[in-house]
């Protein structure tokens, strides 16, 4: 069977222009034509090679600006590669921008027709599917209202319904699924499963590693415009998450940084009059199996060491450590306040250790936020927003924010009793 998408030696070059590049004929004549030329070129994508077999669902992962959206656009024929080739077999539909070419003054129904016909359906086909599309989007009441009264979630629902009902051979989704409410997201995912089962190739850009693992067969990892890895989903995403950790690391204080070097490198939010009084000089994560990647298995113990220097006597010194997801959701926030271990009368260099007995978090990347303060939360003596980060590894049987300690118990049917009628599978 032919591959659905074949990308060979793909390169996309972007132009960077001077800030005062003229944008009108008037300015061009006044300032000179030479200012129209780009000042430099950079490769948004380079040397990208891959094939996608039909019927596969592929996740594209990578940090912001890695070229994910550019890649999807090029596959969709929006813009042209500067190097290499893309061969696509079949009809491509994409949900790449939220607006999706809708016009606010037209009704949902009129927009639906325009959008579906541009997407490759004939007028008659749209008429035949109209009911189904509207029903799926749950917009029956609003379909004859102008689109400007729709919320962005409603627009997304309409756009998604049209795209998914227009028999694409290849469907591309760029992050837009995040807009609908949870119930609709679930419905979309179910529908994606159906479409996939009917042989459609699906390419998604997602920052939700859990969703990608759950749905996709393969993953492509783009880093700075280059294809870093391609292969089975879990492996590639693990690599990506681990790497995302090391990238953060290079921006963050290294544990053994000399205190003097810290202030220039790491701007911190501190109160001016407290500036020289106290300083957090380092944050170290202990108990991770590899200090460069800082990977940790879910459920294992973890310690965080905060080194500090107090240049004057501080009566009461409290610390707090929060573990946050990359999107800012706080998973836990632990503080010394009210605990017997609150340091009193601190002066000079020292360190405090936080021991977490079990880190029962779901797989993914987490930021560690460290804060030092007095009796009250403010003023703060020191605050490191992403002092460190860890990549939590979780086995495939578990997804979600929290990895609850649990075990499964299977009960055999009573008709066929066995020697051991109860089997317990205990999850570590």
């Amino acid at each position: 069977m032919r591959d659905a998408v074949v990308v060979q030696d793909l390169g996309k070059r972007f132009r960077r222009y001077r800030a005062d590049r003229p944008s009108t004929i008037h300015e061009t004549l006044l300032r000179g034509f030479w200012k129209l030329a780009p000042t430099e070129y950079f490769w948004g994508l380079k040397d990208v090679n891959f094939r996608i077999a039909p019927g596969r669902m592929v996740a594209v992962v990578g940090r912001n600006g890695a070229g994910k959206s550019t890649l999807l656009r090029l596959i969709g024929g929006v813009g042209r590669p500067d190097k290499g080739s893309i061969q696509v077999c079949g009809r491509v539909r994409g949900l790449l921008t939220l607006g999706a070419g809708f016009h606010p003054e037209l009704t949902g129904r009129e927009n639906l027709f325009v959008n579906a016909i541009i997407g490759g359906l004939t007028h008659r086909e749209v008429e035949a599917r109209l009911e189904t599309i509207v029903a799926f989007s749950e917009l029956e009441e609003y379909i004859d209202s102008p689109l400007r009264v729709y919320s962005s979630g409603m627009q997304m629902r309409l756009a998604f319904s049209i795209a998914i009902h227009s028999d694409p051979d290849i469907l591309m989704i760029d992050e837009v699924l995040a807009v609908g409410d949870l119930a609709f997201q679930r419905k979309c995912l179910d529908r994606i499963e159906q479409v996939k089962a009917s042989g459609c190739t699906i390419i998604v850009v997602s920052h939700d590693a859990g969703m990608a693992r759950e749905l996709c067969d393969e993953a492509l990892w783009l880093r700075a415009g280059r294809l870093e890895a391609q292969g089975p989903c879990s492996g590639v995403i693990d690599k990506y998450l681990a790497d995302a950790g090391t990238i953060s690391w290079s921006h963050l204080p290294v544990a053994n940084t000399t205190p003097a070097a810290v202030p220039e490198q790491h701007p911190k939010e501190e109160l001016r009059d407290e500036l020289h009084k106290f300083e957090i000089t380092g944050v170290r994560v202990l108990g991770v199996d590899d200090s460069a990647n800082r990977k940790i298995d879910s459920g294992s113990p973890l310690s965080i060491e905060i080194s500090f220097v107090a240049r004057r006597l501080i009566e009461v010194l409290n610390f707090s450590v929060a573990i946050r997801r990359p999107d800012g959701v706080s998973c836990c926030d632990m503080s010394t306040q009210g605990s017997p271990s609150t340091p009193y009368g601190v002066h000079g260099e020292g360190s405090i250790l936080l021991h977490i007995e079990r880190l029962d978090l779901g797989g993914g990347l987490y930021d560690i936020e460290v804060c030092a303060y007095g009796e009250e939360l403010s003023p703060r003596f020191g605050f490191w927003q992403s002092a460190s980060s860890i990549a939590v590894r979780s086995d495939g049987s578990n997804s979600g924010l929290w990895r609850v300690p649990h075990h499964w118990e299977t009960r055999q049917p009573v008709e066929a009793p066995r020697a051991s009628s109860v089997a317990g599978v205990v999850s570590r």
């Binding site: 972007f14 132009r15 944008s23 009108t24 004929i25 008037h26 061009t28 656009r73 969709g76 024929g77 929006v78 813009g79 042209r80 590669p81 290499g84 080739s85 893309i86 061969q87 696509v88 077999c89 079949g90 009809r91 491509v92 539909r93 994409g94 790449l96 921008t97 607006g99 999706a100 070419g101 809708f102 016009h103 003054e105 037209l106 009129e110 027709f113 325009v114 016909i117 541009i118 997407g119 490759g120 004939t122 007028h123 591309m172």
Partner: protein, 262 residues
């Protein structure tokens, strides 16, 4: 560099459907919230007709026979030409969401604009027929040439529309320049005057203006009941197709960068 999928998207049925749905969209948008609806498209040429008639017939006392019909036969094609170019300059920028849609054939956009302006022109033709009848002019067999003249004007306008639309993406003041140029150009075009009387070297120079050539052809058919002069029209057809192909090339070459520049 190949993109098989684009070739597939360019099937004739697909392009026809896209053209139809986008022209319909243009119409819906234009008349969505106006009480007068389609009558608006007739109001503009009629108002222009009234003003010009008063100025040139009553005040300046031009002695062109059947002056109302003469004026309207010039005003209608000119408005089609003028509004096509002004609207098409905005077509890429205003439809940026469509341009970024996967699989959208961007090249249809200027054509859509010229087409919907042409429909306005065609809708106004019955009014012209009424004026012709009032002036006592009867249709002759020469009328069969009318679609041909319309076709040549369509080709000419589309080809210029491609160039204007391409320029607008790069230079955001193109639309104003186009407006100014059209205004100046309208005086060089016999919309409200007749240059059949001017001496020879100037006559030929004036006839190099494609719109002058077209208006003369319209009037020959409608007012004089004659077939239009074949030679200038044929030359114009050849010229239009040349401009059309080069306009298309310019547009298609710039097209891949529209996405980056929008």
């Amino acid at each position: 560099m190949s993109h098989r999928f684009l070739a597939k998207q360019w099937s004739l049925i697909y392009v026809r459907d896209v053209l139809r749905v986008l022209v319909a969209r243009d119409f819906k948008l234009r008349y969505k919230r106006s009480v007068l609806g389609i009558a608006w498209s007739l109001l503009v040429p009629l108002a222009q007709l009234a003003v010009m008639y008063i100025v040139f017939k009553e005040i300046l006392r031009l002695t062109i026979p059947h002056y109302t019909s003469f004026l309207l036969a010039g005003i209608l094609p000119w408005i089609w030409f003028q509004s096509s170019l002004i609207t098409s300059s905005m077509t890429i920028v205003e439809n940026r969401e469509l341009v970024k849609q996967v699989g959208f054939p961007i090249a249809v956009l200027p054509t859509v604009t010229v087409l919907s302006q042409m429909i306005h022109f065609l809708l106004a033709l019955p009014i012209l027929a009424v004026f012709l009848l009032i002036d006592g002019l009867r249709p002759t067999l020469a009328l069969v040439a009318l679609p041909l003249v319309i076709l040549v004007q369509f080709a000419l306008t589309v080809s210029l529309a491609y160039i204007v639309a391409t320029l607008q993406v790069k230079f955001r003041d193109t639309q104003y320049l186009v407006g100014i140029c059209l205004l100046l150009f309208s005086y060089l075009t016999p919309v409200f005057w007749d240059f059949s009387g001017i001496p020879e070297p100037f006559y030929s120079i004036f006839m190099l203006n494609p719109m002058a050539c077209l208006l003369t052809a319209y009037r020959a058919i409608l007012l004089h009941g004659q077939l239009p002069a074949a030679k200038p029209l044929a030359a114009l057809a050849v010229l239009s197709s040349m401009v059309l192909s080069s306009g298309c090339i310019v547009f298609l070459r710039a097209r891949d960068r529209f996405v980056e520049e929008l």
